[in-house]
Symmetry: C2
Subunit: 504 residues, 2 copies
């Protein structure tokens, strides 16, 4: 309950409240604003602390404290024996300007033009819907893409590992760390990638990053200038496309055929690209696997043209039939490929840890770029993740999730066969964390996704990942993430989706 | 103990080892390399699985697994009834090229020119000593700068808060989060800054970042183009200077006088600067406080010229005499100031959390920049920090550290008076986490720092923070961080420093 103590002092009004802010601070603030607004002009005398304390019914110490602060900051001057005065050095003309421009709303831009950099202008022009999380509230609805199974993550194990690290906190996890990452984690990641993904790498080539998005941002900084050409798959992951577009790159959208990335098309469009960004093991979002001959040809193009290949290996841990396909990076003997991977899919997205494998001669420049971008990733998180890997929890968790996700995909496929016949064709996929549901011809997938949203179903239309001009007429599709949802949620989601799509 | 099983197959040699890698995988790898090297040409027949298994003394299933993988990846083709062949679609000319260029060393760049972006070239040219942590091993020696007291941080409380969050893990901390930060943390930071630093802000203006360095990187991206002029204090924090230099800005180094940042000098040099980066409350590293009239004049310059002021308020929590000075941002009614602060000094550096307060109309563009830089900071860390603040631990910890650091500074000053007389003058400071020790005239501070390092003392010479040309002859200095070290360590450090500096 606010108590207002008001007093009419010679030149100004003071209103104090019982908020969380100390009284002396409120008084200081009021006096400061009064001085800055010009109401109390330079050299004018302030009331004595005794007088003001009595007027405001506060202790004299409170007023002394407020005056001390104003004194320390140069607003007022104490002239011994003769009282306290507003400082004479306040440049009055500035204060008048301030007075005119001062408005109650804080932070609002007034009286000035907001000028951004070229990159700032590009960022401001982006479609921000795609740069923000779909939901900021506490749950995600089926078929939100990109989420692992939260109900199956061993939080108890994770909590134990965090607790152990915090109890024996070491200086190397407390102060600043290596921009390229916590050394033991770089070793664990190198060992994992050599075995699981046939990546050719030493620990020194591994750069720990805050998720794949940061790897892409670093690559754009270090390798791409404005107006450089970048080949992107069409459709593709928007985070990658936007990272290069924000850097001012000219994007060439390259269609896909059965062998993946259409190199012929790309060469025909602009063979002098600086960089090709691809998802060879499981194209996002269509799931195509890039053929071996296409992989070799792409590497040869990069080698011959001093260009770069970014291999975004975003979900290769989850291959359900056959074995994981080896990485494209493992075929490259010339340091043309930068390999990017993430723990967002295998641990959880909000951890914000990923990795890149860069040619040895680029490690220093990527470390420098990381140091200036944000120094390094949180050290305790990196140490806990190292423990999680080295103590076998990571491999075990991936094995369990591979089985669980295969089951969940099967549930989705069979529920879709039953309830979505004629509305959405949902073919299975040998890998990944999502399926593409194909709409009948001539149905706009944005409208379909909108109808689904009205039924509480989260799904992204394929066309948001697609760039014009399309190489050929393509059917609309919906991206259906299934890994985060129980069999019951999936079946229920399919029913609601059927309801949404009926009569679109 | 490795067991080598060798066999001379018709065209190739296979050597298997009992490493951690499964036998089938070793076989697959060997065959793959043999095919890619051209030793096994296209269409050549492979031995039968039965034959090869016998030759290698492995189970037939092992060979079948290896062949299956090669088949899946397109290296070989199985022609039903007639055996297995190297694929005919392998583009031979590529394989020959690969053969010539292939070298055993992984990741090494061969046969190609490494071309970087302009920014990449600038990053590669930087002095990397300054972009890396001073030490990556497990301890920091006196007088390492920028470290809070590790022995006084309440890790038990922190561990309890982490554990509680992990046990009741919520979806909002698991999936992707808001690029601008975890909402409750933005509210806590806004409340803290309003009270403690007189910052004018709403929670919506707070952007949580991965430390002050990321704030500077985002600012450089959003506001600065190549060739734009940026005013920096001289000397200044290198992370800030480098962030703008990496973005291609022309840096104007502005000297300091008793009132801080010399605005006259700056205006004379280039009044059309886009941005001024300052540390008004406690200049880094000299400790000067920017006078009120200088603050007002700087804001007026920014307003009139559509320019920006970056207020890096890096250590204002630690003011030992008088009260914390209000922020410069609190004087700005026109949205010219971007306020930057960090939890690296108040919690610990390796947590990688900080904040910026931006004018309302820039929140969206900074969010977009953050989304494309690295999505957002780890959500659990943000939630735990929120709990730490909201449950009073943060305020309590700062209060305790303020007392402890004041003590430690007093120990340093008095030890220096006793043992460093004539070698290094170490005046006290009303604020901060370091002191500047002043060397006698004509002593090169880089040599002094080198001598100190030989005695196991970590100290940065003032001149590394200084840009040529210096406005006036300046004495050399050493930066002495004292907050992370016990009284004993400080006294011992001073003795070793005395030994180091004697006879320099």
């Amino acid at each position: 309950m606010p108590i207002n103590r008001k007093t009419a002092a010679p030149l100004f009004t003071i209103s104090l409240e019982t908020s969380g802010v100390p009284i002396y601070r409120q008084l200081y603030e009021t006096l400061r604003r009064t001085i800055l607004s010009g109401q109390l002009p330079a050299k004018s005398q302030l009331p004595s602390t005794r007088f003001l304390a009595r007027q405001l019914a506060v202790s004299r110490m409170t007023v002394v404290n407020a005056y001390d602060q104003l004194l320390a900051e140069g607003y007022i001057e104490g002239i011994s024996g003769s009282g306290t005065y507003v400082a004479s050095v306040l440049p009055e003309e500035l204060l008048e300007t301030k007075d005119k421009s001062r408005k109650p709303k804080s932070g609002e831009s007034l009286n000035r033009r907001v000028t951004l950099s070229n990159r700032g202008e590009r960022l401001a022009a982006f479609d921000h819907v795609n740069l923000r999380p779909s939901r900021t509230d506490a749950h995600f609805a089926a078929f939100h893409y990109g989420l692992p199974a939260m109900d199956a993550f061993p939080f108890d194990v994770w909590a134990r590992l965090v607790s152990r690290r915090l109890q024996k906190m070491s200086a190397s996890l407390f102060g600043s760390g290596n921009p390229a990452g916590y050394e033991p984690l770089r070793c664990s990641v190198a060992a994992y990638l050599r075995t699981a993904r046939a990546v050719r790498c030493e620990p020194e080539q591994v750069v720990i990053v805050a998720g794949a998005q940061q790897a892409l941002a670093l690559i754009a900084q270090v390798l791409i200038d404005e107006k450089d050409t970048v080949w992107m798959e069409n459709p593709c992951y928007l985070g990658a496309r936007n990272a290069f577009a924000a850097a001012g790159a000219e994007i060439v959208s390259v269609p896909l055929d059965a062998g993946g990335f259409d190199l012929h098309f790309a060469l025909h469009k602009n063979k002098n690209a600086r960089l090709a960004c691809v998802t060879p093991s499981h194209q996002f979002p269509l799931g195509t696997v890039m053929s071996l001959s296409r992989r070799l040809a792409l590497i040869e193009w990069a080698r011959a043209n001093d260009a770069w290949i970014i291999e975004d290996d975003y979900d290769s841990e989850f291959r359900y039939s056959g074995r994981p396909l080896a990485s494209l990076q493992g075929l490259d003997a010339d340091g043309c490929v930068i390999y990017v991977g993430t723990f967002s899919k295998t641990i959880f997205p909000a951890l914000r840890l990923g990795y890149m494998v860069v040619p040895e001669n680029l490690v220093v420049v990527f470390s420098a770029a990381r140091a200036l971008m944000d120094s390094h990733s949180p050290s305790i998180d990196q140490a806990v993740l190292t423990d999680f890997i080295e103590e076998g929890h990571f491999a075990r968790h991936i094995r369990r999730m591979r089985a669980l996700y295969a089951e969940r995909q099967a549930v989705l496929v069979s529920a879709a066969k039953k309830d979505l016949a004629g509305l959405l064709a949902v073919p299975p996929d040998e890998a990944g964390m999502h399926l593409v549901g194909w709409l009948p011809k001539n149905i706009d997938d944005r409208i379909a996704a909108q109808k689904a949203a009205e039924q509480g179903i989260e799904t992204k239309p394929l066309s948001v990942y697609t760039s014009e001009p399309l190489p050929s007429p393509q059917r609309g599709g919906l991206i259906l993430g299934y890994t985060a949802f129980s069999a019951g949620q999936i079946r229920n989601g399919v029913k609601r989706l059927a309801k949404a799509l009926t009569g679109v």
